[in-house]
Amino acid sequence: MERPGAPISPAEPISQAYSLALYMQKNTSTLLQTYLQYQGSPFSDPGFSAPELQLSSLPPAAISFKTWHALDDGERLGRAQGAFLALSQHLQLVGDDQSDLNPGSPVLLAQLGAARLRAQGLLGNMAAIMTALGLPIPPEEDTLGLVPFGASAFERKCRGYIVTREYGHWTDRAVRDLALLKAKYPG
């Protein structure tokens, strides 16, 4: 294992992660629309948006540009890593919720499963970048904590909405993070 200070070139893992993030970005909108379409009104209403809905267990992607720009590599990658770790766990939860609420919707369930796998793939790529940059990899945490199993169907629909929405936001942010790193560590 390489020691920090003598890293291998981070360009390749950054490039790989960047490509994956770009690919994910193309599908996030479809995932959100598919998800909302299956939840019924008001979710499926045209132009539905509820930005005030948030999940405490999921870090928001929104960040001021100044703060974001001032982040060092470790913080930048660490926050993204934490977010996608939480997202992959939440996508699993949403998948379970939807297999209960919409058991006859294989398209939605497949898209949720695919999103979760891509989030995990991006996590792996980010870990490779951090290794290449000699940064410490944060330990995997149980971001969900105590799962609110007693959530009502409506709460679960909202939860899924927030997760799929934030998945899109975090993917957008990851593309920018990685583009920044790509510029910083050219191959």
């Binding site: 299956y38 939840q39 019924g40 009104s41 008001p42 979710f43 209403d45 509820a50 005030e52 809905l53 209960d100 609420l101 919409n102 058991p103 006859g104 009502s152 169907a153 409506f154 709460e155 629909k157 909202c158």
Partner: protein, 973 residues
């Protein structure tokens, strides 16, 4: 037992009296007070669950009691429910009671209290309520957790059409909550400053995954709940049970709609309960269930079919005697035996339904997809039935089903099988008709027959046999075998009578024969053709019944009369029939069909009775006649269309329309104004007789322009609009001129011909030949005296010495049209004598000088007026010209030398001297030499010029030829 009861009652009375005494003594309420009241909540079912006990009961004591329960909402004074609950209370018993709240219990604090009263008959009146228990408070709001807005109930399962109350709790001060069901605002009610209720009546089913209700305060916070609406559970319909074999009962029903919701409520279940046996089974299928019949042969059954889901339970009941619910199993082993051409025996077997049971079976025979026969038969185990009246060589399907003969309930399923009957000879004689054409010495008989129907052919027809029997010589028989599928044959027979038998043959045998007779004398008289009536069904025709024995009638016609062969059709009718309607798919509008009706005598000879003709639908004429115009005068012309055939038209021609257009625009008498299809206006004359094919258009104006057009018409309309023929009437007088000029020209020509034919006579009369002195008979007399020279003077022997020019009044103006010799101005006013001297050596000749006076020989004749001027050849003016002036003399002579060069066209004829041309002995001497007399002597010479030489016919060619002669100077003998 009775002793024990008495003891117990006594004990109870004693106890109560003791307690009464005690209460009176202590003045305290009866101690049978509900105690240990506990209230719990079932949020899912929105139920308040109460439990309490009555401690004061004695051991094994049972007492009927009434408990009064009061429920308040929000505060104790707001009582929303009071209910009396009666029950028997035992010693140490914990009592339970539930109350379902319309409002979700999370939305409001509820208070419950209870009191009791003994309601047992064993306890004497008066009775009074115990004191109330203390209020028990039930408040779920404390457990709501964080948040500002809550909506209840959560994930509630309801039936479609039910009423639901939704409540919201807002923890914000500005409580203005609105809720939407699938985008539709719900009617709200404020229950409390923080609590609102929304009443939802008749909840609709929207989707299996639930109906969202979304609530918001309008200040950015929102939440909701999902209602899971299921279909209402229906009662099973058409529930019935039957047994095929007394071993199992097969029960079926119509389950109605499925009330299942995925992951929320499974589909409704079905349970079968039989009350006599007390057995109960859970059905695996939603619409049928099998019940095993026990060996003890239970006869009556009382079934209850129960269906239930989370929300409802329903049941239906049937009671029946097992023996009345027998539906046999499907018969089996169907076999056909002894199949012939018309019969077959069907056998089958059935499953036994008991030792003494009888089955009632139904047999159906199908042919070509239709039920032909139906039979019923009772059997025990083996069934058989003879199917008869079948068609040979035909495929059939027979099927059988059975029911219980004793107590018929239902038929079994059908079981069927196909079979085919055997082949047979054709059963009917072919339908034969004939067409006879008599020729001198023989007759041509064309036979036609129709193919036999499948039911009569019985198998494929292989050939037809035609047997011809000469009735005059019965021993003579001819057999013709004609292979199928021919539908006719042609026979050439002599004039004898023949009986013709036609049979159809298949591989099995021969059909009955169809017999017709043709006689040498067909006896077909000419009958008048009548028009036939046309109805919707076809051509309707009737004919007069024939006196005497007629075995039938035949109507024949051609389906395609314009084709060859014309597809002869016929219809045979019975002897009592005198009318029929002929229809055919081949009948097309606009085609004339001819029908011939024959009567068939007892000798089977056909006699033509009537002829009919008609159209299935008449059409307007398709073309117009070729009209010929003749006799055009200034006032009329004649139109004629004799070649137009009225027979071959697409309808009966009723007449003609003659259209006439004129510039005047006014119609002549008899014509009427008509507007043509092209909207032009014309005059129309109607001819009502189709055979009138000429028409004289009269009363026309001379030198006027007319247009005409003739078209036939039928009952449907007239022919197509064609181009009008244009005609202009001639001038009124032109024909007169023609009448005069033509005869005049003819007369002139006639006279000319006559003149020509009599020209010789005319010539002799008008200008006879000048006698030639050389040819005179006198000459011969002189010759005989051998002194010819002394008698006649030769001109050449004369030498002119002077020419006397005489002024001639009639010839005063001589025109020479020749270009070179134009002497028009020359006038000879008085006689002049020109003295001519010999100028050339060869002109010298012997003889005395002669004065030549140019007196024409024929002047007298000219003066007589009998003949006109005689044309003279060219040399005459030349000679004349040289006479006019002395200077011209030499010129003239030169010209004479070159006479041959004078164009023939320039030669002109005029009145000139006539003289005998010099007949030179010397060829070298020029004929144009002027006649120079050797001696001057006064001599007036008159000579006749031979006709053939000096008087040429009045044409240029002839003059040229004479000039040529002159040029050559050859003697004319």
């Amino acid at each position: 037992m009775a002793v024990f009861a008495v003891f117990q009652t006594t004990f109870l009375l004693a106890l109560l009296s003791w307690r009464t005494y005690q209460s009176e003594a202590l003045s305290e309420p009866l101690p049978l007070t509900p105690e240990s009241l506990k209230v719990s909540i079932n949020s899912t079912q929105q139920c308040l669950h109460l439990q309490w006990s009555v401690h004061s009961l004695a051991y094994h004591q049972e007492l009927k009691m009434v408990f009064q329960i009061e429920i308040s909402r929000f505060n104790t004074s707001n009582v929303i429910w009071v209910e009396n609950y009666s029950t028997t209370v035992k010693w140490k018993q914990v009592l339970h009671w539930s109350w379902e709240s319309e409002l979700p219990l999370e939305c409001a604090t509820h208070f419950v209290r209870i009191r009791s009263m003994v309601d047992d008959a064993r306890i004497p009146e008066p009775r009074s309520w115990s004191s109330w228990s203390s209020w028990e408070e039930v408040d779920e709001q404390n457990s709501l957790g964080h948040g500002t807005l809550f909506v209840f109930p959560k994930d509630k399962l309801v039936e479609e059409g039910s009423n639901v109350t939704i409540c919201s709790i807002s923890r914000s001060y500005q409580n203005n909550v609105s809720c939407l069901l699938e985008g539709v605002q719900m009617r709200g009610e404020q229950l409390d400053p923080n609590v609102s209720a929304f009443h939802l009546n008749n909840v609709p089913f929207i989707r299996e995954t639930g109906t969202n209700i979304f609530c918001t305060t309008g200040r950015g916070d929102g939440t909701g709940t999902v209602l899971f609406v299921s279909k209402v559970l229906e009662e099973p319909r058409d529930f019935s049970c039957e047994t095929p074999d007394f071993k199992t009962l097969h029960c079926t029903w119509d389950p109605g709609r499925d009330t299942g919701l995925p992951k929320r409520q499974p589909s409704q279940s079905y349970t079968l309960f039989e009350s006599f046996s007390g057995k109960k089974i859970l059905c695996e299928h939603k619409n049928w269930c099998n019940w095993h019949i026990a060996q003890d042969s239970q006869e009556m059954y009382n079934f209850t079919l129960t269906t239930e889901n989370y929300l409802r339970k329903r049941g239906v009941n049937i009671l029946f005697n097992l023996t009345h619910r027998v539906r046999p199993m499907t018969p089996f082993n169907v076999v056909f035996k002894n199949i012939s051409d018309t019969n077959a025996t069907m056998t089958w077997q059935v499953h036994s339904i008991g030792n003494y049971s009888t089955l009632f079976c139904q047999i159906e025979l199908h042919g070509e997809g239709k039920v032909i026969q139906q039979h019923n038969v009772s059997i025990k185990v083996n069934g058989n039935y003879l199917l008869s009246e079948l068609e040979p060589d035909t495929q059939y399907m027979a099927q059988v089903r059975c029911g219980d003969a004793n107590h018929f309930w239902k038929w079994s399923e059908w079981i069927g099988k196909n079979f085919s009957t055997l082949e047979a000879a054709p059963s009917e004689a072919p339908d034969v008709w004939r067409n006879v054409k008599s020729e001198p010495g023989y007759q041509t008989v064309t036979l036609f027959w129709k193919p036999l129907s499948k039911s009569h052919a019985n198998e494929k027809i292989l050939f037809y046999n035609v047997v011809i029997e000469n009735l005059d010589e019965p021993s003579k028989l001819q057999l013709h075998s004609i292979p199928a599928p021919a539908n006719g044959t042609k026979l050439t027979l002599d004039q004898c009578s023949y009986q013709i038998h036609v049979t159809a043959n298949n591989s099995v045998g021969t059909s009955p024969a169809s017999v017709i007779v043709v006689s040498g004398d067909t006896g077909n008289k000419e009958v008048e053709e009548e028009r036939v009536n046309v109805t919707e069904d076809g051509f309707s025709m009737s004919w007069k019944p024939q006196p005497g024995d007629v075995t039938g009638y035949v109507v024949e016609w051609c389906d395609h009369p314009r084709d060859l062969p014309c597809d002869l059709q016929w219809e045979k009718l019975g002897p009592n029939t005198t009318s029929t309607v002929i229809s055919s798919d081949a009948f097309t509008p606009g085609v004339r069909y001819n029908f011939r009706i024959y009567g068939i005598s007892t000798k089977r000879i056909a006699y033509l009775l009537e002829q009919k003709t008609g159209y299935s639908q008449e059409l307007a004429p398709s073309d117009n006649p070729q009209v010929v115009m003749s006799n055009l005068t200034s006032h009329s012309f004649t139109l004629s269309w004799k070649d137009y055939s009225t027979e071959s038209q697409p309808g009966f021609i009723r007449g003609y329309h003659v259209y006439l257009k004129s510039k005047e625009g006014q119609c002549h008498p008899g014509f009427e104004k008509a507007i043509l299809p092209d909207d032009s206006v014309s005059c129309k004359y109607k001819i009502y007789n189709p055979e009138q094919k000429t028409f004289v258009v009269e009363n026309l104006q001379p030198e006027s322009f007319y247009e005409f057009f003739v078209t036939p018409y039928t009952s449907v309309g007239e022919g197509p609009l064609d181009a009008f023929t244009k005609v202009t009437t001639p001038d009124e007088h032109s024909h007169l001129l023609i009448r005069i000029i033509l005869p005049t020209v003819f007369c002139v020509l006639l006279i000319m011909i006559i003149c020509y034919l009599n020209s010789q006579w005319m010539k002799e009369k008008c200008y006879p030949d000048i006698p030639d002195p050389y040819k005179s008979s006198v000459l011969s007399l002189i010759k005989s005296k051998e002194n010819p020279r002394l008698t006649i003077m030769s001109v050449k022997d004369c030498i002119p010495d002077a020419i006397e020019v005489i002024n001639k009044p009639e010839g005063s103006k001589i025109q020479f049209l020749g270009s070179r010799n134009s002497l028009t101005d020359t006038e000879i006013t008085q006689p002049a004598y020109l003295y001519l001297l010999p100028t050339e050596k060869n002109s010298s000749g012997p003889g005395p000088c002669i004065c030549f006076e140019n007196f024409t020989y024929n002047q007298a004749a000219s003066n007589s007026g009998c003949c006109g001027h005689v044309p003279v050849p060219l040399e005459a003016p030349s000679q004349l010209g040289l006479l006019t002036s002395p200077e011209n003399l030499l010129k003239v002579l030169e010209n004479m030398n070159s006479l041959g060069e004078i164009p023939a066209g320039e030669t002109t004829l005029n009145y000139v001297s006539q003289l005998v041309l010099p007949l030179s002995r010397d060829k070298d001497s020029l004929p144009t030499d002027p006649p120079v007399p050797a001696l001057c002597s006064e001599y007036k010479m008159q000579m006749a010029i031979p006709l053939g030489l000096a008087s040429p016919p009045p044409n240029e060619k002839s003059s040229v030829s004479s000039v040529t002669l002159l040029d050559q100077g050859e003697p004319h003998h």
